[in-house]
Amino acid sequence: MNIFLQVVINGILFGTMYGVAAIGLSVIFGTMRIIFLAQGTMIVLFAYLVYWLWRLVGLDPYLSALIVVPISFAVGIGLFYLLFKKASALEDRNVSLLLAVGLMYMVDNLLLKAFSANPRYVKTDYGSLTFHLGGINISFVRLMALVIALIAAAAVYWFLKRTLLGTSVRAASVDMEATRLLGINSYWVAAVSFAIGIALAGTAGVVMASVYSFDPNYGFTFAIKALIVLALGGIGNVWGALTAGLLLGVIESLATYYVGAGWSDAISYAVFIMVLIFLPQGLFGARTVIKKV
């Protein structure tokens, strides 16, 4: 029983990254109506940023979050105006999708070329700090990951519900044309949404760098996992996305332990297909990823 709980707890803690990434995808989807395929790549990119800040300057990952997250937000704004603004004006999703594919491919290979495929890992003094609670081991850094994820989700939720700009984002993701009629600058709203998504990728990147080893090849699979989480949790539901992320983490953790390493991915994809076919509205009945044709 202890082992089971340990596996579950580990899964929850790992799933936080999925959850944070999925919230980002959800926000981006709301206004741009595409699944931003390059999300995983962005996470790895910012993980590298955290890594190099640590390696070159000795900056602690949690401290560098104060730099990395704002930077990632700015990168998001820049990427939107550089790449996606025109496509969003055309309301052309295929263009945006292919832009994301191109971006992913280019950055993935850039990272590979620049930093090679060697796994990177940030070593800190507290890296191996572990709490023992009733027979279960909880690593400090993984717990911090959960804390960060909760803070991030709360921040996004607060932003969406309580600020005028956030309300505009929510409105734009329902009916962008109507917001334009009210004089709202829809490009700016879309840019902010996108930037929030990228900032969440930055957050996930901090988590990734502080807890796990990573290499450029992670980006791609990560994006798919984030999409699975999105399908599970439903669009437009911040806490749903986070919960679904934790859930997927648990599923993978259980699969790895009881079935075998390497099968967890297949099981996750199988879950995805199941959701597509049997539960398109997701676990929480929110607006669905799937649109019936």
């Binding site: 699944i35 999703r93 971006l103 491919y105 280019m106 070329k113 798919i224 076919i277």
Partner: protein, 343 residues
Amino acid sequence: MKSITAPIRSLSRKEQVSWLLAVVLVTALALLPMVVNVDVSYVGYYIFLTCLYLTIAQGWNLVGGYAGQISLGQNAFFGLGAYATAGMWVHGIGLYFFFDFAIMIVAGVIPALVAVVIGIPLLSRLRGDYFAFGTLGFSMIILVLFLKGGKLTGGAFGVRLDSSVFNGMLIYYWVSLTVAVLCTLAVYFIGRSRIGLALRAIREDEISAASHGINVLKYKVIAFAIGAAMAGVAGSIYAYYLFDVKPDDVFSMDWLFYPILIVVLGGTGSVFGPVVGAFIVSALFAYGDVYFAGYQTIIAGFLILIVMLFMPEGIYGLVLKAPRLWHRSPALADGSGGPADQA
């Protein structure tokens, strides 16, 4: 004589010129080995590779360009074709193993069947980008299945074929060229057929097409399956070339990405676009190794961004003002005069 020239004369001037150029190009390529020793020179390899990419690309164009459904699973179909070929060879199925046309056809049919099986649920439920992601998820599952296949698929080590039959680059050059031409022609005629018309209608306005009695799902699945078949045949040729079918190699994203690049670079919605795109991409390879080795993939990704930003209709599309892959905001059919918004 009239029955031959009539169909030719019925083409538009641009199409006539395009066909002329295409025929010239193919002839030149066919005769190239007489000038250049393809066994030794890298040119032969690049053209071989490009023909494979073009084969996949024309198939992708059918489902992604004509029908507007972007599929991200071509590399899975490619790999399936490669494994099917290797599997049949190793188990003695087929006529004469090496470059067995029967095997190659089966290597195309199997991915097509798989495409039908997964296509029906995916295409009936998912639109646009979700379908794309669905195909992506599917290709990931396939990769894992083959990696974990153990004795059945050779796991991470794949399947080794008897390479003693290797006899030089020439046959690969010509086979890949022939298959690329055949697939181009196939897509061309499909495009002009009722199927092509239905696909275009679906791309423009699915609901309207459905209300006119077009079985949207059926045509989407057909296009998807044909695309899968072409990718599978390309995979088969590759298996014959490499003699060593490994999952990391035959399921590589390159087999997905370069064909997409070829199509969007050249232009969707017609068969000539990908030909133009293939030309450019093969030049990228050829010069790539000389001037910027190891950066080809980065440049390829960058190229997609540039094309999508500045000429989404592709190079040939600019020439032909081809029907676009992309939908316009429905209220404005003339493609401009959209909402006035500031930066």
